[in-house]
Symmetry: C2
Subunit: 517 residues, 2 copies
């Protein structure tokens, strides 16, 4: 067996363990990983110009494939730049394997300028962390990192690779996949209790994670038909399969008063792969938990357990097999014309959304009409932001498009949110990704104007308003896209939106349409 | 005494303790801080569209004022987005007071989507961390945070403010400044030993921090004249006052072989407010410490100690008062013409640099000719990146321009580096900051091509080169600037650069000149 570098062992082992995509922004300490790419087949490396794009893309990739991508990040600051997207991935339960370069093992003691406590930075969102100290350890560590990421319900691993462990050679080449324990199954008593719960009036199933795919939603739809229970999902979910032919699951509203109202009649709730609904923020005089205090709440399967098995058994107990789920019938609005309005934008998107589209939704306030209006559009996936860290849309779109090259990605993004990670547009252009970004330009952190009131801060004065308005100067997204190689147009009527969206959907490759609201 | 919110007590106390500037990107949990801005005089709030701009601006502000600005960041992810710039600030020894919003104290237990271990994220770069639990504590905590930031040599404080501590009222209004211990003085023995060291042949002073200002450099210049010792500074320094009329201090080169060669003759070194020179990265077969192993190294004052007092006493012991320091005479190249070249760009900037300019240098490989060529330009300040986390230029320029509204800021930025924090351009436009950004567009991570070789990774293959080239697609910085409200031009000759730079320097407000290399 000839000797290879630790970096090459690492890349070979990642590939052997099924990791074939790396979202990267490398620096000096990662050059041997980069060099290994030309000696190892099977690893696609996708460059990002900012690390939050790389980690957010890994999140989007994992949501669409249920497999981890790796990231390649430069030392502590590179990881730090990726943390906000890792926050979202952690909440989305996305498996990710971060490879973070580190100074040489003998060099760290001298505290060079880029030295930092990488493990300390990794700890907040990683379930598995290891600093590799020798080249022979890189392969086994890679296999362990992948296995740890695949532990249900999906976790983040961070492997820290000192430069000398990467460049030194050893004869240990490739470590293959390690066994990963499956999801634990709910016991009989829980299934029986859940059945009893759902037979009562004013009952609901609250679903998340793997439950929001077509097949388990069918089963839940049968249960709903058999019992009269409602199907609900959290405000922000990693991914839901919806539209025509699918079983509808209602989203709990974001605004606290609307959420409380939506849930106030519930008396019996069964939770599957989800958690109890919690308000996004604390508001004076409002509760944190949004179900009524008297509501019976039973967890059939927590996020790590086997919810699909559990609802199948639940359906059996309930005799739901003979019931037909209510499936959405294909229906969408006529194309509206005239001046831009939020309902009008939603109608255009609902009418034109192609079958199999992957919709990334970071449209915030501008998009509140979108989910209701697209409910019966052609079948599609809808990805939102379970972590709430703003700036997730463009990176998720990158990852979803890399994961699913044969599907159209529609990224619904806002001006304020998009600015956190606008570098994602460049990666779309570089890779020729089939992403249509619809950019809602309302020139304000509109959501914060509502929040300002909800938290009881009164009327915003002029200095406060300055912190909520981003229209001085206006962001010009056509230029921001053009500057990164993405063709873009600006629309100021619904007719123009429909025209440009139709063109963009018909073509292949990245496009941006800026909608002036 | 009437009741006020905890947020208002906090803002009043920051102002009372001398903090009058806040670089911010707020969210829901920070709305009461924002509301307080209209009830409290004396706090300028500067909005950034990305948190790395806010924390990097606070770094630039601190370097120019020696006072902390505050930042206002949204929960864990907001802090996370600011960490890479805090890495650089930590290395620059810049005092900063971060205010990080947190969920309500009673809300955290429910682990809402944006919940994170904020103290864990803060710990890597903060010397002082406190989560305030009640509104009466916000004022005293603010005063303690400011005092902790001012502990020599300058530190980062992070005050975590739960939403209910911000919105609840108490009668405790304002906490004033707390005493801060001064810098410790070197004892007599150290001064005598340093004098003996510098009287020997092949001696040098290595200077950093407060030593790199005009007055202490004069004293060091007298010592150099009296002893023949060289004056040296680290490769990356927070700020150096240089140019005509100032005493020259030579920069240790970045490239490891050049640095080792530059230092190889040294036998006796005295360090003042600096640390032993360490290689930026580990390279196979090269040492980590860059002074010759046989070199005598004596620390007269560590970065927290009183270096200015120490070198004045050192000058006395050496009888340096009667010696004249060598001051640079004003001289700059004739304006070159013709095709773009790196020496030509440096000559244009050296010729046109206005007196009192604040130069922010993140020009990386494109700018290696800049410091030698501007050595005798009109007197100016030069700020570089002691932390090495890329993406520092535009944020530092924002902070320096806010700190020094009467001075011209010249930001020398690269395409690769600039993309990490390009949102800084928007804040320049929003605030009308007097910053001329010269953007070097070479369409590559050029430095990594060198590093690839230095770390012994051989010749880059096609997949590796893909990770080092960023010219597919080309970044178009004129569009990226225009998209954020900053007027911009592109130049492809030295004549055009000179013309556009002259115009930009003569006007007030932000401008960007993209130089195609």
């Amino acid at each position: 067996m000839s000797s290879v570098t630790g970096a090459e062992s690492l890349v070979r082992s990642l590939v052997a363990c099924g990791v074939d995509t790396c979202f990267t922004n490398p620096g000096t300490s990662e050059m041997h990983f980069v060099a290994a790419l030309d000696r190892v087949d099977g690893m696609r490396c996708v460059l990002a110009l900012f690390e939050g794009v790389a980690t957010g893309a890994a999140d989007g990739y994992a949501r669409m494939t249920s497999r981890p991508a790796s990231t390649l990040l430069h030392l502590g600051p590179g990881l730090a730049n990726g943390l906000a997207s890792l926050h979202n991935a952690h909440r989305a339960l996305s498996p990710i394997v971060n490879i973070v370069g580190e100074h040489g093992t003998y060099h760290r003691q001298h505290d060079p300028p880029l030295h930092a406590d990488i493990e300390g930075l990794a700890r907040v969102y990683s379930s598995w962390i290891k600093t590799v100290e020798s080249p022979a350890d890189t392969g086994p560590a890679a296999a362990a990192a992948v296995a740890a990421a695949l532990v249900p319900p999906g976790r983040i691993s961070t492997l820290i690779l000192p430069a000398d462990a990467a460049w030194s050679e050893s004869s240990s080449h490739v470590a293959g996949p390690m066994p990963v324990a499956g999801r634990a199954k709910a016991d009989e008593a829980r299934v029986r209790d859940a059945a009893a719960c759902l037979r009562k009036p004013n009952a609901a199933l609250i679903l998340n994670g793997p439950m929001l795919r077509t097949a388990p939603l069918e089963t839940c739809g049968r249960i709903a038909a058999a019992t009269g229970a409602e199907l609900l999902a959290p405000t922000q979910v990693p991914r839901v399969e919806r539209g025509a032919g699918r079983v509808f699951v209602d989203r709990i509203p974001y605004v606290i008063d609307a959420a409380l109202k939506r849930l106030q009649h519930l008396e019996h709730v069964v939770i599957v792969n989800a958690r109890q609904p919690v308000a996004f923020f604390a508001y004076p005089g409002k509760p944190s938990l949004m179900l009524p205090p008297t509501c019976e709440v039973l967890t059939l399967a927590d996020p790590a357990e086997d919810g699909i098995d559990a609802i199948e058994r639940l359906a059996d107990v309930l005799g739901a097999a003979g019931h037909q789920p209510v499936r959405e019938s294909l229906a969408f609005p006529q194309l509206p014309t005239g001046a831009i309005s939020l309902p009008g934008i939603a109608a255009v998107i609902a009418a034109l959304l192609p079958e199999g589209a992957i919709v990334i939704d970071e449209s915030i306030t501008s998009g509140r009409a979108l989910m209701p209006t697209t409910r019966t559009s052609a079948p599609h996936d809808w990805l939102t932001n379970p972590g709430g860290a703003i700036g997730t849309g463009l990176p998720l779109a990158v990852g979803a498009a890399v994961a699913c090259p044969d599907r159209k990605v529609v990224c619904l993004e806002s001006d304020g949110s998009g600015m956190y990670t606008l570098q994602g547009l460049w990666t779309m252009a570089r890779e020729g990704l089939d992403v249509v970004t619809v950019l809602f330009n309302n020139r304000t952190y509109e959501i914060l104007k509502g929040e300002f009131k909800y938290v009881g801060a009164g009327e915003a004065g002029s200095k406060a308003r300055d912190m909520l308005e981003i229209g001085r100067p206006n962001l010009d997204w056509v230029s921001l896209a053009k500057g990164q190689g993405v063709p873009a147009t600006r629309v100021e009527t619904l007719d123009a939106l429909a025209r440009d969206l139709r063109v963009a959907l018909a073509e292949n490759g990245p496009r941006l349409i800026e909608v002036m609201i």
